[in-house]
């Protein structure tokens, strides 16, 4: 217990690589709703659960799964636009929630859904501190106009120097 609490939120997020076993339980319960045909849904979900990997690094997240048809999604924190936390009744019973991540792309569904994480609030808050509109703010407002001002200052200095040169010549 102590090592987890002593870690910074960033370290806690970076240490997530596999979904919790509770996700597999959730898949089983979800597929039972199909009755006798539960295995049709369960087999792909089994492979999805066992091949699912997360990689959080300092720039972005990548998530991959699949055996026959592999899929890997990578996105950078700076492009994240909305973060939604969704949980239905069964997920709450198992202590899970889905983190739906949106970029500004055209798709109507979530770009990436992080499933099977019990520290979902920590992940959500960490992603929030890194997302679009939160970090870009400070740099975006000051930098470009500042540089232009500096260029103007430089030009003024050059003019003064040339003026002095002109005086000397006379």
């Amino acid at each position: 217990m102590t090592p987890v609490t002593s870690m910074t939120p960033e370290q806690r997020v970076f240490s997530i690589h596999r979904p919790e076993p509770a996700l597999w339980k959730y898949y089983i319960i979800g597929s039972l709703f199909l009755g006798p045909f539960f295995f049709i849904a369960l087999i792909p979900l089994y492979f999805r659960y066992y091949t699912m990997r997360y990689d959080f690094d300092s720039e972005g997240i990548s998530m991959r799964w699949g055996i026959l048809f592999r899929r890997e999604i990578t996105l950078t924190y700076a492009r994240i636009q909305d973060i939604h936390l969704v949980s239905n009744l069964i997920e709450r019973w198992l202590g899970l929630a889905r983190i739906q991540i949106q970029t500004a792309s055209g798709s109507a569904t979530a770009e990436m859904t992080i499933e099977g994480v019990k520290q979902y609030e920590v992940v959500r808050d960490y992603l929030y501190t890194r997302m679009r509109g939160v970090i870009s703010q400070k740099t975006a407002t000051s930098a470009p106009s500042d540089t232009l001002h500096q260029v103007a200052e430089e030009m003024r200095a050059i003019r003064r120097l040339l003026g002095e040169l002109l005086e000397k010549r006379r």
Partner: protein, 241 residues
């Protein structure tokens, strides 16, 4: 008595009580207006009346068309089915009411100086966090019944998709569009919107950003003036040399 069933249901459904505030300053909290519950109640009564009427006519028709020489077991079966349907309807009635009431009570619309957080839902709990800097526009919607009740829905939109199909499905309660945050049933929509827009205005690069020309205009003019003076001076130097 009042808190009893609430706590039981919330415990059973594992609904987290209060959402944590969004990042930024302590948020302003808006809640759904009391008339929003009235609106939901009207919808609920209408739907259940239709269902009740439909199932009652179905049962009477079934009993009325039963041939006179039906064996005893057949009559029992029909009676059993009718009873089951009534029971299901009653269950739906009470459960639907409880969820509707809790859905109204457990709604949070929080606005800080940096983000909006909307928490809603009972069966499916949704917590949307939208940074003010990412907001593109806001929409206020009001239907005729909502106008009578003095409430409205405020929508906050961010950039990106959300096909019309997703919104249509949302109208039927099937799916939730991803790039929209809904403040449902507020009685101070105009005030809410001005709070949001004020927040958005503080973020100069809100949405996908404004044209940057205006911002750099002063510096650019200064630069132009300096450059022009410099050229004139150089012309003089060249002329005298």
């Amino acid at each position: 008595m009042n808190g009893g069933w609430r706590d039981t249901v919330l415990q059973l459904m594992r609904v987290p009580r209060d959402p944590s505030p969004p990042p930024g300053s302590p948020p302003q909290v808006f809640r759904a207006a009391a008339n929003y519950f009235v609106l939901r109640l009207i919808e609920w009564i209408a739907i259940n009346l239709i269902l009740l009427a439909a199932s009652l006519t179905l049962i009477t028709v079934a009993i009325g068309f039963l041939p006179a020489d039906t064996p005893q077991t057949g009559k029992i079966l029909v009676g059993f089915v009718a009873g089951a349907v009534t029971l299901l309807l009653l269950l739906r009635l009470t459960l639907g009411y409880a969820i509707m009431r809790l859905d109204y009570e457990l709604r949070w619309y929080m606005i800080s100086d940096r983000a909006i957080r909307i928490r809603e839902g009972i069966l499916t709990v949704r917590e949307k966090t939208i940074a003010l800097a990412n907001i593109q526009n806001t929409v206020i919607r009001q239907g005729p019944i909502q106008r009578l009740l003095g409430i409205a829905d405020v929508e906050v939109r961010t950039a990106g998709g959300g096909s019309s199909e997703a919104e249509k499905a949302h109208g039927q309660g099937l799916a939730e569009p991803m790039h929209v945050g809904y403040f449902r049933g507020v009685d101070n929509a105009a005030q809410l919107r001005s709070v949001i827009l004020e927040g958005v205005r503080r973020h100069r690069d809100a949405g996908l950003g404004d044209p940057e020309d205006a911002r750099h205009d002063d510096s650019a003019k200064l630069l132009l003036a300096e450059t022009r003076l410099l050229r004139e001076m150089l012309e003089k130097v060249a002329g005298s040399g």
